[in-house]
């Protein structure tokens, strides 16, 4: 096994009994609140949409080995774990070089080769040092599209290039070195806004670091070491308990293009990731894959015990093996940079759900990302990024939410009026996409439809369309994302995801974007007829879908159910099931 795949040793393991419960709880609550304050400050003050509107930030505290101790309640879950990978890299690099951290230093990176998350995800960290040893790191990650030159443009485009910052000492005494700021400004698309956001990130990091510094003084490093160990023990214990419930200690799941096999390994869990051959979908780096697996497992352990959601502790208990270990993976760049990590996350959930259905959910429909660069009739340029979320996966607890962003891509749709006021565009409609949610005993959330028309000038649009989301436990796949271009010259042209395309648009051209629905859960014809009728009344599914997927047949020309035919169709569909499937379905109903 390579060093990369080894579970990291947990720093300062110490018996929990040495701790007073009050100290443990007090430290945990202080760190949780401080992380929340870091995230909130940054999101409130930043100019960029990525931070301010979408909330792509992650605040956390990490031990001397880089393992996550406590993260923010609203932190981006992948960025939170990715920072742990990067900090482990930094700690090891410093140790290898025989260098130690000094108080007040600030380090940064956005380099995936240093196990950073993506090119635009800048990790800022401040080590808290006592007696020459690191007590903990306070770290704050934020997405700066200006840094990564985020774009959906093809690889060969210059726009795709960004600035790579390997782990570097960026400053001290809580400030970034001015010459480094000059360097960044010279390479950023919108230097003033980018530098302002960076300063805010630094300011927010100081808030969190001050709390950790105070804890390092009182109760002090001797107490904090055992506190870190005790806090991490909670998620580890919960994970062990879950692993024990897996049949034979193993579970498998697949969400294209990734497969996941989990197996008990000593006191922990080994996760082996496989990949479909010849896939062209984005593949996370090995570090991002590990972060993604841990984020998924954190979701699983906190499904039953929400108090665990902010705690780390899994780095020491989970080893991850990927086919691309040591080979890098794709360079994570642009708004779709985490789509591969999202799929891997869902594959882990699928594996867990195969044995323990209540701990996860079906995969989410990904968002459509549109990057539009155009010129008005008067020659003035404009640029607009639009994000249109899909539907979320259903679970054993109910239908998925319609039109919501997946966990790793916290995006949101701009107001329609803002779109029309920012560029020569008219939105023709924006509505739920009927029939898009994966059919199931519980239906996947619906995707959305957005129809746009270019009013003047010309434009170039890069569009990322995600693939469909499979259902779980007999649930069906959510409808795949679709792009329809309507032009006077070529009429109607249609493309389905997963794909990334670049389109040339002229005045009068129309684009219809349809996002994918979430995966369904459970067998569709076991869905309550009442719920199917409700969906019909609300126009969320069509008559055809009702008949074909759910076996609920309507009388001609009305929304009234044909009881006789419905009974016969459902009875027939049920008779096609194997006994095991029926039992499994009934178990789900329970």
């Amino acid at each position: 096994m390579s060093a990369e795949r080894q579970p990291r040793p947990t720093a300062n393991r110490a018996p929990r009994t040495e701790l007073q419960p009050g100290i443990l709880l007090d430290v945990r609550t202080q760190l949780e609140e401080a992380a929340q304050a870091m995230d909130a400050t940054l999101r409130q003050a930043a100019c960029s949409a990525a931070i301010g509107r979408h909330g792509s930030t992650a605040a956390g505290f990490y031990d001397a080995t880089g393992a996550l101790i406590v993260g923010g309640r609203e932190s981006h879950p992948l960025l939170l774990e990715a920072a742990a990978e990067a900090l482990a890299f930094l700690a090891e690099k410093q140790a290898t070089a025989g260098r130690s951290f000094a108080p007040d230093e600030v380090y940064w990176t956005n380099d995936p080769r240093c196990h950073g998350a993506g090119l635009e995800d800048l990790i800022l960290t401040g080590p808290v040092v006592r007696a020459g040893r690191v007590v903990a790191f306070a770290a704050l990650t934020a997405a700066h599209p200006a840094l990564g030159r985020a774009s959906l443009a093809p690889v060969e485009s210059l726009r795709r290039e960004g600035l790579i910052l390997p782990w570097t000492r960026a400053g001290c005494a809580g400030a970034i070195l001015p010459e480094l700021l000059d360097l960044l400004a010279a390479n950023a698309e919108a230097p003033a806004e980018f530098l302002a956001d960076l300063r805010v990130q630094m300011h927010a990091l100081r808030l969190g670091r001050a709390v950790m510094e105070a804890l390092a003084d009182r109760p002090g490093p001797e107490t904090l070491g055992p506190v870190w160990a005790a806090l991490g023990e909670g998620p580890r214990r919960a994970l062990r308990s879950i692993v024990q419930k897996l049949e034979g200690g193993t579970a498998e799941g697949r969400v294209a293009p990734f497969g996941v096999r989990m197996a008990r390994e000593g006191d922990g869990l080994r996760v082996v990731v496989t990949e479909e051959e010849g896939t062209r979908r984005s593949r996370p780096t090995a570090a991002l894959a590990r972060a993604s697996v841990r984020a998924a497992l954190r979701e699983v352990v906190s499904a039953e015990t929400p108090a665990l959601q902010v705690l780390g502790g899994l780095a020491g208990a989970v080893s991850v093996e990927t086919p691309w270990d040591g080979r890098g993976g794709d360079l994570p760049v642009g708004p779709a940079r985490f789509s591969g990590a999202q799929r891997l996350h869902e594959a882990v959930l699928a594996a867990v759900c195969s044995a323990l259905p209540h701990l996860g959910h079906a995969p989410d429909g990904g968002p459509i990302l549109l990057d539009l660069r155009g010129e008005r009739a008067d020659g003035s340029p404009y640029r607009m990024r639009l994000e249109l979320p899909g539907g979320l996966g259903a679970s054993v607890f109910g239908d998925g939410m319609s039109h919501a962003a997946p966990a790793f891509q916290p995006l949101c749709l701009r107001p329609i009026e803002a779109i029309e006021r920012a560029g020569p565009l008219r939105v023709l409609r924006c509505e739920l996409r009927s029939d898009s949610g994966g059919a199931g005993q519980y239906r996947g959330g619906l995707g959305a439809t957005l129809a746009l028309e270019l009013l003047e000038g010309r434009a170039e649009a890069d569009v990322f369309l995600p693939g469909g989301s499979p259902g779980l436990r007999g649930g069906m796949r959510g409808t795949t994302a679709r792009l329809i271009r309507v032009t006077p010259e070529a009429g109607l042209q249609e493309q389905a995801g997963p794909v990334q395309v670049t389109l040339a648009l002229r005045a009068g051209h129309r684009l219809i974007l349809e996002t994918s629905g979430g995966g369904g859960w459970g067998l569709p014809f076991q869905r309550s007829i009442l719920r199917v009728e409700e969906d019909l009344a609300r126009g969320l599914i069509t008559r055809e879908e009702s008949r074909r997927r759910y076996g609920v047949v309507l009388k001609p020309g009305s929304l009234e159910k044909d009881d006789h035919l419905t009974y016969r169709v459902r009875h027939y569909l049920l008779s096609t099931l194997a006994v095991e499937d029926i039992i499994a379905g009934e178990e789900l109903l329970d």
Binding site: P21, L25, T29, A34, A40, C47, Q309, A404, P410, V427
Partner: protein, 671 residues
């Protein structure tokens, strides 16, 4: 009491309904408290009036902070509401902006206030400048309204795209609907929210429509109930932004009362901060269910233009910026033994029924109040409120059963840990919100009130580094006192299209005049909402003087951003989106200075006459000190339980404290 007028301030909380009675002759105040009746709030309120002993004929005025609107949203008990909107966009309410409820985990489906079949599309279209692209299909409006009426829809919201630029189609739709919708419960998006962002406008219009019939019924029931007890005084409702308005205005604009209760506390806090000449203060109102924080600077509470009431429901409503954490005296404590640090305090609350275990009303789960009682930070005697004493027995048993096994401690030790966690959460809430306004804890004073606020204030302030705590004498009814202190006011929020650099005093005056439809007379409070880049967050900038030069305003904004964010944004890139104006149309009906002095002086005289002896809290040895027995200005040192009407304040060991002439208990937490 003489024959002079009585003014009554009422605050309906989740657990108790508080009444503060101000005797017009002497200006002295007294407090009454009755359990809230969630099933019919007016019932509890009228009961409180009866119990207060106020002669019906002497009631000159009632000022009322209400939670009726808030509860209706939480419990989804508003009217059956329909929506008319532009064709192609009926789902915007359900689509929201696409955010998740939480970042991890499964996400339950979202149910908007208006179900899809009641969201009807009408053919019409304006462009981004407000010009008409497609005329309003008047037959479509009629057909949609008739279809909704057939489905027993009671209230109707009309919200079209770009109506903030031009409300012509919405107004025409209302004209068409006048006859078709005889109950008159019609709300236009362009009137309740004349700002860009169709989702905000639609949600605001829908919520206003959703609440209108309910609030109209509540006002009617309250007025009828008052009549039944033999009085018909003028009633003022506290507005979310801190002014007060007449019942007729609540009937037509119910959104104004959405944060009515907490606004009373913040208003009282601001008045007290002004009286004590505190440049920066933070109010902490801790009742049974929540810990509400408001920041006061230069005697004015921070204001907000939008409010997220629950997931997917953000509405434009001027309000005092109240930041809440789900932690109060009634917050339930639970222990997950599988998790180190898995002790949870709140947000679930024991509420009024059964309440904390120590209330002896059948509650078996421990709460923060139980923990306070067990460690002796709470005076159990509530006879001054006509309530039975708190019983430590059930509190002990509840702690023993629910928390002790997980912590491996005895109930007293476990109670201490519970309080540590509760205080850490309060510290976090305060730290976050002080930081968001760029206020350093070291320069702020904590004004603590509510039934539980004075108990937790000193340890919280000490942990956070706030050097001083002020506990008002009527802390237990401070929000009700705030209701009395809110002056009649008109509140308006108007759109502004300018940058920080281009908003001249002349343009500002023009917007103020537009807000109130002409000349402005009275005391004016102004705040600007500023936005930068693509961030939807808006910063609030108070405008102390509309005539101040642009440079002064830029300096004030930079002073704020430097402290809060560590930056000085270029004024050209700071967009002024809205102006919030509050025009006080009358003076505060009571003089706080004299009222507080007389109230405390009377309490001292009564105390001296009865010569009540100071005792010790049960089993803890912490001296119990009636506030009225303290000598004004004299220095004391903790530990102490200072007994106030309906509440007690905990002073930790060694902490200096004193009482001032207004009866405020002042704790020097920084020493």
């Amino acid at each position: 009491m003489g024959q002079a007028e009585l003014r009554i301030g009422i605050d309906v909380g989740g657990t108790f309904t508080d009444l503060v009675l101000c005797d017009g002759a002497e200006g002295s105040l007294c407090l009454a408290k009755v359990p809230t009746t969630p099933q019919d709030i007016a019932l509890g309120l009228l009961q409180g009036l009866r119990q207060s002993g106020a002669p019906a004929g002497r009631i000159a005025e009632i000022a009322h902070g209400t939670t009726v609107a808030t509860n209706a949203i939480l419990e989804r008990k508003g009217a059956r509401t329909g929506l008319l909107t532009t064709a192609g966009f009926r789902d915007l309410l359900e689509l929201r902006d696409g955010r998740r409820r939480s970042l991890l985990g499964r996400q339950a489906a979202f149910e908007p206030l208006v179900p899809r079949p009641w969201r009807r599309e009408v053919s019409e279209r304006l462009d981004a400048s407000g010009a008409v692209l497609a005329p309003l299909a008047e037959d479509g409006v009629k057909a949609a309204a008739e279809a909704l009426r057939e489905q027993d829809v009671e209230a109707l919201a009309v919200a079209f795209l770009h109506a903030d630029k031009n409300g012509i189609h919405e107004r025409r739709a209302r004209e068409i609907l006048q006859d078709l919708w005889p109950n008159g419960h019609l709300t236009l998006g362009s009137e309740v929210c004349p700002f860009p962002d169709e989702r905000l406008r639609m949600a605001t219009a829908v919520l206003a429509a959703y609440l209108t019939p309910l609030m109209a019924r509540y006002v009617e029931s309250l007025e009828r109930g008052l009549g039944e007890i033999g009085t018909a005084p003028p009633v003022r409702f506290i507005e979310s932004a801190g002014g007060s308005c007449a019942p007729a205005e609540v009937r037509s604009a119910p959104l104004r009362t959405i944060l009515s209760g907490p606004a009373g506390g913040a208003t009282a806090g601001a008045s007290l901060a002004g009286l004590l000449e505190l440049p920066a203060a933070v109010t902490a109102d801790m009742g049974g269910t929540s810990f509400d924080v408001a920041i006061i600077q230069e005697g004015q509470p921070e204001l907000s233009g939008d409010r997220t009431l629950e997931f997917g429901l953000t509405v434009a409503v001027p309000s005092v910026a109240i930041h809440s954490a789900g932690i109060g005296g009634g917050s339930l404590i639970c222990m997950d033994e599988s998790v180190p640090g898995g002790l949870q305090v709140g947000p679930e609350s024991a509420g009024a029924h059964p309440g904390p275990a120590c209330f002896g009303k059948g509650g078996r789960r421990p709460t923060v109040t139980d923990a306070n009682l067990l460690v002796g930070r709470l005076v159990g005697d509530r006879c001054d409120l006509g309530l039975p004493p708190l019983d430590p027995g059930p509190a002990y048993q509840a702690m023993l059963a629910e928390v002790c096994p997980g912590l491996g401690l005895d109930p007293i030790g476990a109670a201490r840990v519970v309080l540590e966690v509760a205080e850490a959460r309060m510290v976090g809430c305060l730290r976050t919100h002080l930081a968001s306004r760029g206020v350093s804890p070291g320069e702020a004073v904590l004004i603590a009130f509510g039934g539980a606020g004075p108990v937790q204030a000193a340890p919280v302030a000490r942990k956070l580094g706030i050097p001083r705590v002020v506990v008002p004498y009527l802390a237990a009814g401070f929000s009700a006192l705030g209701a009395l202190l809110t002056p009649p006011a008109r509140t308006a929020m108007v759109a502004v299209e300018a940058t920080l650099r281009t908003l001249t005093p002349e343009r500002l005056r023009e917007r103020v005049a537009a807000a109130f439809g002409g000349a402005v007379r009275g005391k004016l409070r102004l705040a600007l909402f500023l936005r930068r880049g693509e961030n939807p967050h808006e910063d609030m900038l108070p405008v102390p003087d509309p005539a101040e030069p642009v440079a002064t305003r830029i300096r004030a904004y930079h002073a704020f951003t430097e402290r809060a964010y560590g930056i000085r944004p270029a004024p050209e890139g700071v967009f002024v989106t809205r102006l919030l104006a509050i025009l006080e149309e009358g003076s505060c009906p009571i003089a706080l200075d004299r009222s507080l002095q007389r109230t405390f002086a009377r309490a001292q005289a009564r105390y001296a006459a009865t010569a009540a002896a100071a005792g010790a809290a049960q089993g803890t040895g912490i001296p119990r000190v009636p506030a009225a027995g303290l000598k004004v200005g004299a220095a004391y040192r903790g530990p102490a339980l200072v007994v106030l009407p309906g509440a007690s304040a905990y002073v930790p060991e060694g902490m200096p404290y004193r009482v001032d002439g207004w009866g405020n208990l002042i704790l020097e937490t920084g020493e």
